[in-house]
């Protein structure tokens, strides 16, 4: 599921790239064979997803950052430093093995954990907002730990 999502975002980024090319070159004769960009626009959402990693994952009922999560957030902090004009939202999500309201609090706890780590790594708090969707924004659907582990995350997205 996750691969599928990233694929969709990449296609969206390519389309956005095409549109920009037309605007920049003023191409009006429309051959329909515009030059494909070589990758996502630097500093864009697609760039974050493809080259940095937009999300970190959590263990069951946990909000502690794993070493993998910290490695991803380190890269996000570097990326934010490279593109100082970018503002982001960090959304905390949960698997569906908790109650609605508890998970809403747990998602906020996860978003705050990622936010606080990025702050400690130098990202200005004014560039980041947080939100919790509880269990209402599952990346993957179905049951079983393979699915649930993908849905316990904090997702950084460009605003």
């Amino acid at each position: 599921m996750r691969l599928k999502l990233i694929g969709t975002l990449a296609v969206a980024a390519l389309l956005a790239g095409c549109a920009n090319d037309h605007a920049n070159t003023g191409a009006a004769t429309g051959t329909g064979a515009a030059v494909q960009p070589s990758g996502p626009v630097p500093g864009s959402e697609a760039d974050l997803v493809a080259n940095v990693g937009d999300r970190v994952f959590f263990d069951l009922n946990q909000s502690g950052l794993t070493s993998d999560a910290k490695a991803t957030l380190d890269k996000q902090a570097d990326w934010l430093a490279k593109y100082p004009q970018v503002t982001v939202q960090i959304a905390g999500n949960c698997d569906d093995r908790g109650t609605e309201e508890y998970n809403l609090a747990l998602g906020q706890r996860r978003a705050n954990a990622a936010h606080d780590y990025l702050t400690a790594k130098g990202a200005a708090g004014s560039r980041m907002t947080t939100i919790s969707y509880g269990k209402d924004r599952p990346t993957a659907t179905g049951d079983g730990e393979d699915v649930w582990s993908q849905n316990r995350n904090a997702v950084t997205s460009v605003q």
């Binding site: 009922n61 909000s63 569906d96 093995r97 908790g98 109650t99 609605e100 309201e101 508890y102 809403l104 609090a105 747990l106 906020q108 706890r109 705050n112 954990a113 907002t129 947080t130 939100i131 919790s132 509880g134 209402d136 924004r137 599952p138 990346t139 659907t141 179905g142 049951d143």
Partner: protein, 457 residues
Amino acid sequence: MGSTRDTYLSGRQLNALNEIFGAPGLGRRSLLGGGAVLGAGLAGGMIVTPSGAQAADAPAAEITVDQARTAPIPIVIPSFGPGVGEQITGVLTDDLSNTGLFKVIPSSANSGTPDFAPYKAMGARAAVTGTASGSGTVRVEFRLWDVLTGQQIQGTAYTTSAANWRRIAHIIGDVIYQRMLGEKGYFDTRIGLISRSGSIHAPRMRLAVMDQDGANYRVLSSSQTKLPSFNPVRDQIAFLSYATAVPRIYIFDLATGRQHILGDFNGVPLGPHYSPDGGTIIVPVARGSGSELYSVNIASGAKRQLTSSGGAINVSPSFSPDGSQIVFNSDRGGSPALYIMSASGGAARRLSYGSGNYGDSVWSPRGDLIGFTRIAGGQFSLGVMNPDGTGERIMTQGYTVESPTFCPNGRVLAFCRRTGGENGSARIHTIDITGFHEHAIATPEGASSPTWSPLNV
């Protein structure tokens, strides 16, 4: 909201209510003795006939709810006539049957004094006669008879706009419920909920309300909403809105269609939870790693912090009916469990000790039980326990069964049942507190987060 509001008002008003038929030998009486309340707070077009005090000589119900659970009460319900009469009979029959406490026997004799001999032979305990006449304005007459004594127990007539026929049916059902079982019914009530539509990966979640049987379903908000809570005394629903970047608590007034913000919090508010008198809302406010409970006086806006647990999550607060205590859900002990504390906050006592995680604490309006969700082994269970933590009993289980809410008399819980998977559904079900008679309420879209209204007034 203009057109919705108009529809709503005309749907709620019972223009001109009730005359009382004196039952021979039983004196004037009406279970709508509280009928005067009908006019309270609703202006215009409302004619209320005070129906006199409830008869002091009203006999106590001979059948208890517990008796009826093991042996449903056979009751004869005839068609109230063609058209709206037939519709009223259908709704009344569904109301009574869905409780599991009544066994409805159809009949064709809908007026005059019934011939009781065949009813006795069938084992019927009670019989109803009734008629509905008129088109624009409908007059519904209803009598309840004791089959064993042949006496009329109740007689009432309702004159109302035909659009209100469903409500008349529910009110008659509540009269029968109370006469036969000795406690108030809950058919003339509504359930607030979240309507779910669109992709399961980012569903559209809007505030909605419906009658307790799923009729008159109506979406109230266009923006994202979560965790609604019905005011126990007023026609209002509080909810969490995601319309703005930072979620906020709104109070929606069902009579006017207007809504207002409950104020700002130093952190992110979660779900609102009303006190029994409707004057206070408790809100968990997330900040840092935890969420603490705050009580908000709705009139003054004054806030008071009730918990201070150093980064733990505290959610799902629910008052005892007398307003003196609060049960809530906290992970202060390591994993989510149920706790009880004074309504003024302070020290809390742990209530749940079973394996797995507990949540969704909700105190019955009767005071005798606390409903909850328990999650263990990847499965959800819906249960009740005594307020001292003893007597835990699981009523139903599933992939997800959550968000229990009691009906006003505490005999039935509504909850959300969800299935997993890409095409997973979310539906509101009801279940008797004994764990029997679970059934789904049909809704046009997915439905979650039920919150039961008080008895309609």
